[in-house]
């Protein structure tokens, strides 16, 4: 191939790559799936803040489990600014939590969605920086989803805004695609590194991880130690989980493998929700996986 041929090839490839990237992020899409994700995420945010409110005096204020001094030391080398810095009064915390709960509900109902969604994200983020030692995977997923939903038009469907005409008639929008792609890519990162982390442990290779997860009393919500009677089954589930997590980022994109990858996601996360006492986390991981569920192209029906 001559130098000119190589140049043309590179230019052609670059043009095609750019067009593909452009379509990947910016081709308008419907808000329907994002609306379902919004409803679940908003509801979960409301629930999270309701639970903080149940023991307000243990989490905030002068008798909090994590006081100002501890929080300052914990965040001494990191950028975790929050106005709930450990010196907040119970009243301030109470108002904050009620506002956050309200924002979560508004987000779920789709009421002033363009404002409620970023507000719910921001208020939850402020709480997250205040209560870092109490957090786990649930908070990571909920904040991730709320962050991306904030840049979408998720209130254009299944919302009070839509019902009362507070949003425009346009339901396909590039912002929906942009937000969906970011959720998808972020989810791939989570599974990939989650899988790599497991691959560093010997229990995920010798097939006993599933048993030891079942035998962890603090996590257990339903007794599934019966799995110890079937070591081969336990081993297959262990290895299946390991390889599924690592391969998720590659296999969830092709149409042929996507349904299988999502089906496994359903069983894994439903299992975590039912058996391992993390129904909230399991549920939100399932909700996040909705981002990969293809939706009917409504442009066809509207244009017809």
């Amino acid at each position: 191939m001559s130098g000119l041929g190589i140049g043309r090839y590179v230019v052609g490839w670059t043009k095609e790559f750019w067009e593909s990237l452009d379509a990947f992020f910016f081709r308008p899409s419907d808000a329907e799936v994002l609306a379902w994700i919004r409803i679940a995420t908003g509801g979960m945010i409301a629930y999270i803040h309701l639970v903080w409110l149940l023991r307000l005096e243990s989490f905030f204020g002068p008798t909090a489990l994590l006081d100002y001094e501890s929080l300052t030391m914990l965040h001494r080398n990191v950028w975790k600014w929050t106005y709930l810095d450990g010196r907040e009064s119970l009243w301030v915390a109470c108002v904050h939590e009620i506002l956050a709960l309200g924002a979560g509900l508004a987000m779920a109902l789709g009421f002033w969605t363009r404002w409620a969604t970023p507000a719910a994200w921001f208020l939850t983020l402020m709480t997250a920086h205040r209560l870092a030692p109490f957090l786990f995977g649930l908070d990571q997923i909920v904040l991730m989803l709320a962050m991306y939903l904030s840049v979408s038009r998720c209130g254009d469907r299944w919302s009070i805004d839509k019902r009362f005409g507070l949003v425009g008639v346009q339901t396909s929008h590039w912002q929906n695609t942009f937000a969906t792609r970011l959720i998808q890519l972020h989810l791939c990162v989570i599974y990939f590194f989650g899988g790599l982390g497991k691959a560093r442990g010997w229990m995920w290779w010798d097939g006993t991880a599933m048993w030891y997860a079942a035998a962890s009393y603090e996590y257990q919500s339903l007794d599934w130690t019966w799995i110890g009677r079937y070591p081969t089954l336990g081993s297959i589930l262990t290895h299946g989980t390991l390889f599924w997590e690592i391969a998720y980022a590659a296999l969830v994109w092709p149409r042929l493998t996507r349904p299988w990858v999502l089906a496994i996601a359903f069983f894994v996360h439903a299992g975590i929700a039912l058996f391992m006492g993390m129904i909230t986390f399991g549920l939100m991981m399932l909700v996040a996986n909705l981002a990969f569920v293809p939706q009917a192209d409504r442009r066809c029906e509207t244009s017809s």
Binding site: E57, P133, W174, L182, A209, Y212, A215, G228, G277, T302
Partner: protein, 248 residues
């Protein structure tokens, strides 16, 4: 791209039809922002996984440092270690001379509240720094400095939790159970780290061990790991790795 309109919209007076397309001028900027954001998403796990006793991957360290404020404040600083590298034993926190342990399923409900306390007890345990260092570790100045910082934080956290639990016990929430006998004094409650070991299938399925049996809880030592080492501070030290019935 054809303009898309819904003819059956309930409020045509508010209709603001648009193509739903992104203006071409904005796209490169948005892609640039998305790229930076996605780099921030992978910055922490790459840095986290590349760490060893020798070094952290220099390029990942630079990425993590460069995007540090954004990664931290946007709550993207996760390694995504779920049950990794191995499912391990659970850790609880107890109060000496009080039958208070958290997490406690009966005391903390709903389940999410219980899980919050569970995360705190795991955090407390992972923040542990012993009362003193072994002599061979004292030679390493950096190690000693780090231990001093860790120890300060651990003690601060200890006092914070202790004060909070004490205030809660003092409000009378637990008084019906007769647990407030020592709460009049200003003495700090002594927190005890507890570990519930994981048992193999043979022990559990044969009935030798029962999950959730409090007699299996191990009281973890507050001093250095070495055997027969006397405590070098006046801080109260619970029994060293004392199993079965040592708590409360």
């Amino acid at each position: 791209m054809p303009r898309i309109l819904r003819m059956t919209d309930p409020s045509p007076q508010l209709a603001r039809p648009s193509s739903g397309q992104c203006k071409p001028a904005y796209r490169k900027w948005l892609l640039g922002l998305a790229l930076v954001h996605l780099l921030a998403v992978i910055a922490e796990p790459l840095f986290f996984y590349s760490r060893s006793d020798v070094q952290a991957g220099p390029e990942f360290l630079a990425l993590r440092r460069g995007l540090g404020p954004y990664v931290d404040w946007m709550y993207l600083d996760h390694g995504y270690f779920f049950f990794a590298p191995n499912p391990g034993p659970s850790h609880l926190v107890g109060i000496r001379d009080q039958s208070v342990v958290f997490p406690d399923r009966k005391e903390q409900w709903p389940r999410l509240l219980y899980h919050r306390y569970f995360m705190l007890s795991e955090f407390y345990n992972s923040s542990f720094a012993p009362t003193a260092l072994d002599p061979q570790d004292m030679a390493d100045r950096l190690f000693v400095e780090r231990w001093e910082t860790d120890r300060r934080f651990y003690r601060t956290l200890q006092r914070s939790i202790s004060r909070s639990v004490r205030a809660r016990l003092g409000t009378g929430l637990e008084q019906e159970r007769g647990l407030d006998q020592d709460l009049e004094s200003d003495q700090e409650l002594v927190l005890v780290r507890l570990e519930r070991p994981l048992f193999g299938p043979l022990e559990v399925l044969s009935g030798v061990k029962r999950l959730g049996d409090s007699r299996d809880l191990i009281v973890l030592p507050e001093g250095p790991a070495g055997p027969d080492r006397p405590s070098e501070t006046s801080e109260p030290e619970p029994a060293r790795a004392a199993p079965v019935g040592a708590f409360p």
